[in-house]
């Protein structure tokens, strides 16, 4: 596993960070001050919480890690455009507030997924691995409710939810990682059959215990694990369910706009260099 520490070369570019999407992603610290790293490969993550709670902070951290990982491709859907817009230059596809573009992209992803499974089947393998012939793809969706419950007609929304459910359900083994963020993933926003497929959850501050339970899973609030008690003046604090299956209080690391822009430029350059070398 690579260690994400700075080692700049004096007067020039830093050494290749060689971050990989197969490495755990640093998402912040826990209440003991220990770093929290979450492996995302073969996993899907659902992020929920009220506006300003820290959803986009976590999403940007994950996308930043994926952008710097040359073994990962990016597919970004952002109804607001600005939350993930800085990573446009690193992404294979960037979808703005356009439901038809979103649907077309998810259909392409579905075809890619089927092709990858066909390849693995012929190769006699069950899942992708590090240094495989194809790279994992991170599908990051900010404000999923925009596509699944706001724009378009009923059919397009259902198509969106159905395609996404298929990606979440089947995409794991071929390296398709779905990370979706929304304020309240209740059944009127995304079908419960889709919500329940997300193994890992992160709830930033929610306005009620019920909302917190919708993100984390039923029953956690009764045992005291409710993101409703997180202070509204302390954004970035949330409850994360990842390895171990037990909620963990974390504070997400913060990347400001300038840092995101720098990382995006650096990642885009590295990707372009790699493309040139490959050509």
């Amino acid at each position: 596993m690579s260690t994400l520490t700075a080692s700049p070369v004096p007067g020039g570019m830093p050494a290749d960070p060689s971050v990989s999407i197969f490495d755990p992603v640093h998402v912040g610290v826990d209440e003991f001050g220990h770093p929290v790293r979450v492996p995302l490969i073969y996993r899907n993550l659902l992020i929920g919480g009220e506006p300003g709670g820290g959803k986009s902070t976590l999403l940007n951290l994950i996308v930043a890690h994926a952008a710097l990982s040359l073994d990962c491709r990016l597919c970004l859907l952002d109804g607001k455009q600005v939350e993930l817009g800085q990573w446009k230059s690193c992404a294979d596809v960037f979808v703005g507030p356009d439901i038809m573009h979103a649907l077309a992209t998810l259909r392409r992803m579905q075809i890619v997924m089927d092709n990858r499974y066909a390849y693995l089947e012929v190769a006699g393998r069950r899942k992708t691995q590090r240094d495989d012939v194809f790279s994992p793809i991170l599908v990051a969706i900010d404000e999923i409710a925009y596509f699944s419950a706001t724009v378009g007609d009923k059919k397009t929304r259902e198509d969106f939810a159905g395609l996404l459910r298929d990606l979440v359900a089947r995409g794991r083994a071929v390296g398709i990682i779905v990370v979706a963020a929304t304020q309240r993933p209740s059944s009127d926003i995304i079908p419960t059959s889709l919500r329940d497929l997300f193994a890992w959850r992160c709830a930033f501050r929610c306005t009620t215990n019920v909302s917190s339970d919708i993100v984390l899973g039923h029953g956690w609030a009764d045992r005291g694990w409710s993101s409703n008690t997180i202070s509204p003046t302390n954004p970035g604090v949330g409850l994360l369910i990842a390895e171990g299956g037990i909620p963990q209080l974390i504070k997400a690391a913060y990347l400001d706009d300038a840092a995101c822009a720098r990382i995006a430029i650096h990642a885009a350059r590295m990707r372009a260099d790699r493309k040139e070398r490959a050509a």
């Binding site: 209440e31 930043a64 604090v237 990347l255």
Partner: protein, 283 residues
């Protein structure tokens, strides 16, 4: 009929170490334990002794052995609730005994004022040095929280008629965390984590804390439960991402700061009203 006064049946100043229903239950258990152990040991010893001794003598030896073993086991079972109380107060008992024995020894070995001066110095250092004071305070809270949790669990069990009053969870140990305390609890048969669902707020109130969170502490043992008591928020500071360090060498000018798009149509007055939607005349 029992004598009753304005203070009830108990004399003034009496302290209940073990509640009456619990005491009765353990007395019953002690009787059963005595009979079972005495009979088993008597049989085994008599059978074994009959090889070397006359039968009558072997039976007598067996009965005596059984009686002694049964009595010992019955005594342990009978006083188990009291032993549990001693376990609950073990830290305080050990601390008090150490303090008084140490002071008595020092005053006898040196001058009577020496232990008092030493105590004053120790207390002064503990209260004077902030870091030490916080550390001691955190451990004191651990001791307090164990008692508060025990009282709280006793109250829950008392209010749940289906649970036996003697089945109090065993409070194992507690340690300070940056947010408060973390306590490990061993649930007795008849209890599970679901019995504590919805009681997190009550635990927090009982522990004079902001929040309490319960979770299974072991994948192997369902009985081992962890209770996290939160009385302060250690996550208030800004956390930097290590990814920032990778691009620290880049100059600010490298990052785009000016939009490529001209700032037009950014206010409501700059945007014309859209054409009304065509409605279906049949509807």
């Amino acid at each position: 009929m029992a004598k009753s006064g304005i203070f009830g049946e108990r004399p003034v100043g009496a302290v209940t170490l073990v509640e009456t229903p619990v005491s009765r239950s353990y007395a019953q258990k002690a009787r059963v334990a005595f009979l079972v152990v005495a009979a088993s040991v008597a049989l085994v010893v008599a059978a074994t002794a009959s090889v070397a001794l006359p039968l009558v003598l072997a039976v007598v030896v067996g009965l005596l052995s059984g009686g002694v073993c049964g009595l010992v086991v019955a005594c342990v079972v009978r006083v188990w609730p009291a032993l549990r109380v001693l376990w609950w107060w073990a830290f305080e008992i050990v601390a008090a005994v150490t303090l008084f024995v140490g002071m008595a020894y020092l005053s006898r070995a040196t001058h009577p004022a020496v232990p008092l001066v030493l105590l004053a110095v120790v207390l002064g250092v503990v209260f004077g040095v902030g870091r030490l004071r916080r550390r001691v305070s955190a451990w004191v809270w651990c001791v307090v929280v164990r008692h508060r949790l025990r009282l709280c669990f006793a109250e829950f069990i008392r209010s749940t008629s289906r649970l036996h009053p003697g089945r109090l969870p065993l409070i194992l140990w507690a340690r300070p965390t940056p947010a408060g305390e973390r306590v490990w609890v061993w649930l007795r048969p008849g209890l599970d984590l679901m019995d504590l669902d919805g009681k997190a707020d009550k635990l927090a109130v009982a522990c004079w804390a902001g929040e309490a969170r319960m979770v299974r502490a072991s994948a192997k043992h369902a009985a081992l439960v962890r209770v996290d008591i939160t009385r302060r928020d250690p996550l208030t500071g800004l956390v930097a991402s290590p990814l920032s360090a990778w691009v620290a060498w880049m100059r600010d000018e490298d990052a785009p700061v000016s939009p490529a798009m001209p700032p037009l149509g950014l206010d409501l007055l700059d945007v014309p009203e859209p054409a009304p939607e065509q409605r279906n005349p049949r509807r």
